[in-house]
């Protein structure tokens, strides 16, 4: 609030100005604070509830009392109110009826594997395609690029209907291939990378050519290092995308791994949904479910805190093109 550059004709006007300024600043902070609270309450609730003793929590629900911070002085359950039991259940649960194991360790391994491999695949295909569009001249380039951009308009559901059949036909259901290759190439990433590549001055290419670099060596040694921030952003967005995927994995990978029938093919979101669905698990502890949500969200949080700058830039960049 630098007021030093404002001059007033009378002390009264100055007082009025300051009063209004203080008032509006207070209002602004109050507005942001209230909405910020609305944003953050679900997270706080999730963190606290995931550590609560399941019996104490259920007792509260049965007695129709709300206790975010439970009253430790008159708890009917004498065991400590906070516990790691919910997490232990999430990582080792077996449905008493069907015998199906709900184990987030499996879901984690599946998700990490799929997100890493599909991100590498996406990066290779996108970088190569973006390079062709940005650096090379060939017949039909603009037509091809326009067609690709036009497909971004089309809702994914149209593709899912046929892709589901294709995957069944290829025998890819309940395999990692269906999760990795079907959505492995993203038109948006190609578009985003092409824009970055196009900003690299042509003189660099000519200089590299004088040094005897071919197209692909130029891509590897010059373009990729220069475009590194964009590539990092794409990597992060792609990893996050795999971590959040639900619809497609639910269709093609909700069974067991065919090589090992103890191993569920589910990714974290699908595993979480089955943790919540009574008929699947026979489990109705809300604290355990919340712990499952927490387990799903935590890696993303850690990731976000580390790569905050790249994520926010990548997301806002995707909005500027309009």
């Amino acid at each position: 609030m630098a007021n030093s550059d404002v001059y007033f004709t009378s002390p009264h006007k100055r007082r009025m100005y300051i009063a209004r300024k203080v008032g509006s600043t207070t209002l602004t902070y109050a507005f942001l604070g209230l909405l910020g609270l609305f944003m953050i309450v679900p997270f706080v609730f999730m963190i606290i509830t995931s550590f609560r003793n399941a019996d104490a929590y259920d007792l509260d629900v049965a007695h129709r009392v709300f206790n975010l911070i439970p009253s430790w002085w008159n708890s009917e359950v004498n065991a400590s109110n906070y516990t790691l039991d919910n997490y232990a259940t999430v990582f080792n649960y077996r449905n008493p009826v069907t015998g199906e194991a709900i184990n987030f360790a499996f879901f984690y391994i599946n998700t990490v594997y799929v997100s890493v491999v599909s991100t590498i695949f996406t990066l290779i295909t996108s970088v190569l395609a973006a390079f062709a569009f940005a650096r090379c001249n060939f017949k039909g380039k603009n037509l091809l690029f326009t067609i690709l951009l036009a497909t971004m308009m089309i809702p994914g559901e149209m593709m899912v209907i046929t892709n589901y059949q294709t995957v069944k036909l290829l025998g890819w259901d309940n395999t990692f291939a269906a999760l990795i290759f079907v959505h492995g190439v993203s038109v948006f990433y190609i578009f985003y990378l092409r824009q970055t590549f196009q900003q690299i001055p042509n003189e660099l290419f000519l200089a590299a050519k004088v040094d005897g670099y071919g197209h692909f060596r130029y891509l590897l040694r010059v373009m990729i290092p220069i475009a590194m921030p964009t590539i990092v952003t794409i990597t992060i967005l792609s990893l996050m995308g795999s971590w959040n995927a639900y619809i497609w994995p639910n269709l093609v990978a909700s069974g067991k791994w065919r090589l090992n029938d103890q191993w569920s093919m589910k990714l974290v979101s699908n595993g979480l949904m089955s943790l919540f669905t009574n008929s699947d698990t026979g489990l109705s502890r809300d604290t355990v479910r919340i712990a499952g949500s927490m387990v799903c969200t935590l890696p993303l949080f850690v990731f976000f805190l580390i790569f905050r700058k790249y994520i926010m830039r990548g997301v806002s960049r995707s909005g500027i093109k309009g």
């Binding site: 509006s24 507005f31 942001l32 679900p42 609730f45 009392v65 209907i161 059949q165 919540f276």
Partner: protein
């Protein structure tokens, strides 16, 4: 006008580049070799992306479109092949099938008269009409407010961005528990501060409009982060001169917002409007996560209370005999999205300042 000679030259170039891709040896003039190798290299770089885009994007779009016109298409699970056209011809020559598929608008007629589809269309339209304007206005206000402060700006940015990096399913389920029936629910406890008695929200005892409240709240919570971020980056690019000039003229805050900020942000507002309309029309994940009872439960005792268009497509698709209907519904969705986008682009021609 392209003359004959250069046309022929282009054809030659094309043939040669094809041969080069196939790895055949070339013996052409030095001058044309550079040009050729560039085309060849471009295609080598494009081939991996193109193969997968063709197989999993271009072909599915065409195939789904064709499928929507085939009556009695029933090979969803891959039995006997899945390719719509080959399927059609196979069925024509296969007398074991009692009903032969034929091209018609039957799927569209059935879908457009299906009570479930009409309900889901109405539901989706309601969600769009309420959430999109509300989210955009609130996001804009938050962005402008955040832009005007210095202390704690980074903190608020992180707080408002958090929902973007969370799993929509996971937080939907947290909301489900926040909106538990009875006094034990966090939201009901909050309402009781204002003397409101406990309500049902998402259970089978709740009515459609109580569920709607939760859907709206969660949709806003879930979707606002991206919009705030885009508006913030737009605000950062507005020159401070405009605001200084307005201050000299004695403009108040409302005038500045309406006459300077909003017009200068209009490209971002247009972009956000189009993407949020499309996004809201494709609502699905946030709704099933709120009801938390599997991928095809949309609340209520029938599980269909808040079925959306995308939800209709996915649940219809599960039935082998109704794949054609799902395809028709997805094409209807495409047409709706195209119309909305077109209308907004045309309407914005007058309003958006670049």
């Amino acid at each position: 006008m392209v003359d004959q000679a250069s046309k022929q030259r282009l054809a030659e170039l094309n043939a040669e580049s094809t041969r080069q891709i196939l790895g055949m040896s070339l013996s052409s003039k030095r001058s044309s070799k550079h040009q050729l190798s560039e085309t060849g290299k471009a295609w080598i770089a494009l081939i991996p992306a193109c193969i997968f885009l063709l197989a999993f994007m271009i072909y599915p779009i065409l195939n789904t479109f064709i499928m929507s016109f085939i009556e009695n298409f029933r090979f969803m699970k891959g039995a006997g092949g899945s390719f719509a056209l080959s399927n059609f011809f196979a069925a024509l020559s296969n007398s074991r099938l009692s009903t032969k598929p034929s091209f018609s608008f039957q799927n569209y007629i059935v879908v457009l008269q299906d009570a479930d589809f009409l309900t889901s269309l109405g539901n989706t339209a309601l969600i769009v009409i309420v959430t999109v304007p509300l989210t955009i206005v609130v996001a804009l206000l938050i962005a402008v407010a955040m832009n005007s402060i210095k202390p704690l700006k980074g903190f608020f940015q992180t707080v408002f961005f958090l929902p973007y990096v969370t799993n929509a399913i996971a937080l939907g389920m947290v909301f489900k528990i926040i909106f538990t029936d009875g006094d034990a629910g966090l939201f009901n406890a909050f309402l009781s501060l204002f003397g409101v008695s406990a309500q049902s929200w998402l259970s089978v005892y709740a009515d459609k409009w109580q569920m709607f409240v939760v859907i709206i709240i969660y949709s806003i919570w879930n979707g606002i982060a991206f919009k705030i971020l885009v508006f913030m980056s737009g605000l950062a690019s507005i020159d401070n001169q405009y605001y200084d000039a307005a201050k000299i003229d004695g403009a108040n805050k409302a005038t500045i917002l309406g006459r300077i900020t909003v017009p200068l942000l209009s490209p971002q507002i247009l972009y956000i409007t189009i993407t949020s309309f499309i996004g809201a029309f494709k609502s699905y994940t946030q709704i099933i996560s709120l009801f938390g009872a599997g991928a095809y439960n949309f609340g209520g005792s029938t599980g269909k209370n808040w079925m959306t268009v995308v939800g209709y497509i996915y649940s219809t698709m599960q039935d082998d005999t109704m794949v054609g209907r799902a395809a028709a519904a997805s094409f209807v969705l495409l047409v709706i999205i195209l119309i909305i986008t077109l209308l907004q682009t045309v309407a914005s021609k007058r309003r958006v300042h670049y």
